[in-house]
Symmetry: C2
Subunit: 194 residues, 2 copies
């Protein structure tokens, strides 16, 4: 089974108008996504931000729950936050995964728009790959209005956007990450299950 | 197709020791769960709290995004918050669903512990029921350490807890709600799909 990592990119990403921006790291996304990562057997949760003060903010949150008062108060938080890594760029996160896993990861993002030259993959297909293929996978999520075209051009495969029965599609990124992980690594008690 | 509603119970629920408590409503759960509800075609999101100041807090949040400055600034927020209702008790939420849908809902909760006299149901089974049966369903989630035994004894069916590949199981309730909705009402592009 291939190791599964995830990256949450804060910069560069795009805003509503398509301009490149850097979003603020929110403590909430650190905690919520770390807990989802721990639940679904993710090997590393990489927060990507080019801003040094933001990198230090994440390190302070991690220190509190991993070594400080929080570690004793809430050990399940510690287990989750042990998965958190900070990287200045997506390339640094890829290098970290490569070093830890001994192989370069396949990069997979979700996007509503097809990308020229990037292969689409279904959730079912990626789930099968993860179970059968030892190569690590790095799932890449963007904050704001999503990854830049330059970042999307670098991924190896694109998952379709999450959809319900209607057209409304504005899940918070922390909810979207949990749903994607459930589709890829949930216990499989799904629509087509028993 | 039966209408799907959800209730998030803030009180009474149990704490870590099993004592009955009332938790605080968090604005975050109002927003995140409303957006997941809108994405997955939920007809109503009922916040249950016996505390009047907390009921008024939810109403103020709703007014801001539905009628105030927020409605113009972020219309997708308005669509989501239009689903929010406040109820002092779970029974009041059930009465509201019954009035709106013209039939009493089937109450379904998730629980790690079997409840004497309460039928277990799988996600796949409930998904099929929702597609085939016109009877409304009210999914009931507890905050804190979950619903009281008295509340669990009143539900019609219990879903199994969400699980990943390991033993860690501490999803935030706002993530758990999104995953459950995806299993019940997602576009079905899941593990056993194409």
């Amino acid at each position: 089974m291939g190791a599964l990592h995830l990256a949450l990119v804060h910069g560069p990403v795009v805003n509503k108008r398509g301009d490149e921006i850097t979003t603020a790291v929110t403590g909430l996304n650190v905690h919520d996504i770390a807990r989802a990562a721990a639940t679904y057997g993710v090997s590393g949760y990489h927060l990507v931000t080019p801003l040094e003060p933001q990198q230090r903010l994440v390190e302070r949150i991690m220190a509190h729950w991993r070594e400080g008062h929080g570690a004793a108060y809430n050990p399940t938080r510690k287990t989750a936050l042990d998965l958190v890594r900070v990287a200045p760029t997506l390339e640094d996160a890829v290098a970290d995964v490569t070093r830890r896993e001994g192989a370069a990861p396949r990069l997979v993002a979700t996007s509503a728009r097809p990308q020229p030259g990037v292969k689409p993959v279904t959730y079912a297909g990626l789930r099968r790959d993860l179970a059968a293929d030892p190569r690590p996978v790095l799932l890449v999520f963007g904050t704001g209005w999503g990854l830049t075209a330059a970042a999307l051009a670098k991924v190896d495969a694109l998952l379709p956007p999450l959809k319900g029965p209607g057209d409304y599609n504005h899940l918070p990124v922390r909810a979207a990450v949990a749903v994607v992980l459930d589709r890829l690594r949930g216990d499989g008690e799904t629509a087509s299950g028993p």
